[in-house]
């Protein structure tokens, strides 16, 4: 029984601004289901007394002092931009939101 539906994949695709074809929705629903199923097996092994791990290293409080370091030049920053204008990143029309 698939846990991930086509509709959920379509919703995720919308959040990720991805345009998916009908056959892709089916394809990814199956794949995502397999992935989640595999990960879910961890919880079968881990009992209640094992807390979820977000960080594998036993470290806390890694901080830096508030000192300015050199930034990239704007030319470097924009080097990989597909489009630029007025020393800014140029992006396509932003639709559907304000």
């Amino acid at each position: 029984m698939p846990g991930i539906t086509r509709e959920e994949v379509a919703h995720l695709a919308r959040l990720a601004r991805l345009e998916l074809k009908a056959e892709e929705l089916d394809h990814f629903a199956g794949q995502l289901d397999d992935i989640i199923g595999a990960v879910a097996r961890v919880s079968e092994v881990a009992d209640q007394d094992v807390p979820p791990t977000s960080h594998p290293l036993p470290l806390t409080n890694v901080m830096r002092t508030d000192e300015v370091r050199p930034s990239l030049t704007p030319q470097q920053a924009l080097a990989c931009a597909p489009a630029q204008e007025q020393q800014r990143f140029k992006v396509p029309q932003i639709l559907g939101e304000e």
Binding site: L15, A16, R17, S54, H55, L57, L59, T60, N61, V62, M63, R64, T65, D66, E67, V68, R69, S71, L72, T73, P74, A77, L78, C80, E85, Q86, Q87, R88, F89, K90, V91, P92, Q93, I94, G96, E97, E98
Partner: protein, 501 residues
């Protein structure tokens, strides 16, 4: 778009009880960004303060700014919050060009500070606003929309992004639902944001200038029928960025909600945009559910676990908080709560304090800043602090009045001269010739002339109508073009007419 006919504020309040939630974002005044060493200096050329981390380039790793965490803890402590023993950052995922990483690094269910309160003064009464949480996050880049009619996103052909601001530390402070404010809800909202701004400034963690976007407020509001327990559906008005606007936004939303509900309609949970021009709000987007952001613990940043010794050290180093200080000053200056509120609203506390520090008596310092100078600032549409006169100069005017070389009228002219850029008080007095006529001989002559010219009045005074002396004082003041000491003139008149004052 349907235009809703607003219900009058009084009618809205008669039927419904407003519940508010305020979310305030404060941009910290750190030298560098929250997760990288890029400068946060204002006014830089576009995209000159970015690096692989704040541009979200592959392989880059964030490191937390220690001063950012310290500032967050200070704010939490000043808001009477508990400080987390251990907390994590989280990714808030959304695809929007203002964040090149495609997520904002924020905190989700483990804020660094939680469960606090802030007491605010409303009409001389104390209103306690409960604080849900204060958490650390980062600002977004700045978008410029090109091709639309008014620089707005609607109709824009494309947008341009400057990421200098992306990654600047933000503290988001969220209240618990504010209930019980009733008709005073707009004032409570404004008083809360005002108090919070004063608090942030006193901590020295941000200049908190709303007009510069260093402090921004979102207003959540819902109505429930009078007597009901359950909250209604809320709207979230974004980016209400002045104290006056906070008050107006709350008032408008109360009237709008009441109109919709009164017509049997339902409030949609949505974000709304506030319009500075007329104080109205319009529909924005339908709000995402929290799960749409797919929050998860940020794997690239290890947890923050502030040592209790550090927290207590920071608590010990907190300055006298604004409300406590205000109450102390209020007693020292001998003001009522209401008068002190006016001083606060006028932004005059620091100016008056500084003027007193320069040697002026409290009542005089307050009189000038809240009177003549407040009037001028109001006329010119500027903040008091923007007037071209210093506390030291106001204190000098007070000193000249005290030593008797200026009377009230001349002092006002002196201040006028300073504001007009004619120099300091002494220069203005010298240049305009504004000295009180204290030459007893000249004054005596003027008094004699006034008595001679107003024989009937003089007779009344001789007959015991001392109050009539005012008319003669006026005549002498006119003759000396206002440059006489009115009290001394009155003495001389009564003396010459042989009457006891």
């Amino acid at each position: 778009m349907t235009v809703t006919e607003l219900v009058s504020y009084e009618d809205a309040l008669a039927a419904y009880d407003p519940v508010m939630g305020l979310e305030v974002h404060v941009e910290l005044g750190t030298k560098t960004k929250m997760f990288c060493g890029c400068s946060t200096a204002l006014g830089a050329e576009p995209n000159t303060q970015t690096c692989p981390t704040c541009l979200g380039l592959p392989g880059s790793l964030p490191v937390v700014n220690a001063t950012g965490v310290e500032s967050a803890i200070k704010i939490g402590l000043a808001l009477n919050c508990e400080i987390a023993e251990w907390c994590r950052f989280a990714r808030k995922n959304y695809f929007y060009p203002d964040m090149p990483k495609n997520f904002q690094t924020s905190q989700y269910d483990e804020p660094i500070a939680f469960n606090g309160y802030l007491d605010v003064d409303v009409d001389g009464e104390v209103f306690r606003v409960e604080i849900e949480r204060a958490h650390m996050e980062e600002d977004t880049g700045k978008s410029t929309h090109v091709g639309g009619a008014t620089g707005r996103i609607h109709g824009a052909q494309h947008s341009l992004l400057d990421y200098n601001r992306a990654g600047i530390p933000l503290i988001e402070i969220v209240t618990k639902p504010i209930v019980g404010a009733g008709a005073k809800a707009p004032e409570v909202a404004k008083a809360y944001v005002t108090e919070l701004r004063e608090l942030i400034k006193s901590l020295g963690v941000s200049d908190a200038r709303m007009e510069m976007g260093q402090m921004r407020c979102d207003v959540n509001l819902s109505l429930r029928p009078q007597g009901a327990d359950k909250f209604g559906t809320r709207s979230e008005t974004k980016n209400v960025n002045s104290l006056r606007s906070v008050e107006r936004a709350v008032r408008f939303e109360i009237q709008r909600h009441a109109a919709v509900l009164g017509d049997g309609g339902t409030i949609i949970q949505e974000t709304r945009h506030f319009h500075e021009e007329d104080g109205s709000t319009t529909s924005g987007r339908v709000k995402e559910e929290a799960e749409d952001y797919r929050y998860f613990p940020e794997p690239d940043l290890v947890p923050v676990a502030p040592a209790r010794t550090w927290v207590e050290e920071l608590r010990g180093g907190l300055p006298e908080l604004p409300r406590v200080r205000r109450n102390r000053l209020r007693e020292e200056w001998g003001l009522s709560r209401h008068e002190m509120q006016s001083v606060l609203n006028a932004g005059a506390i620091e100016l008056i304090t500084a003027t007193i520090d320069e040697g002026a008596p409290a009542d005089q310092a307050r009189k000038w800043w809240m009177g003549e100078l407040a009037r001028r600032a109001n006329e010119d549409g500027v903040e008091l602090t923007a007037l071209p006169i210093t506390p030291a100069q106001v204190a000098r005017v007070c000193a000249l009045v005290k030593e008797g070389s200026l009377n009230d009228k001349l002092a006002r002219q002196t201040i006028e001269g300073v504001l007009a850029g004619e120099g300091g008080p002494d220069e203005v007095v010298a240049a305009r010739g504004l000295k009180v006529v204290s030459d007893e001989g000249a004054l005596g002559t003027a008094v004699d002339e006034a008595i001679a010219a107003n024989a009937a009045i003089a007779d009344k005074i001789r007959g015991g109508k001392v109050a009539a002396a005012g008319a003669l004082v006026g005549a002498v003041m006119k003759a000396t073009r206002g440059q006489a000491d009115a009290a001394r003139v009155r003495e001389l008149i009564l003396e010459k007419l042989g009457v006891e004052g």
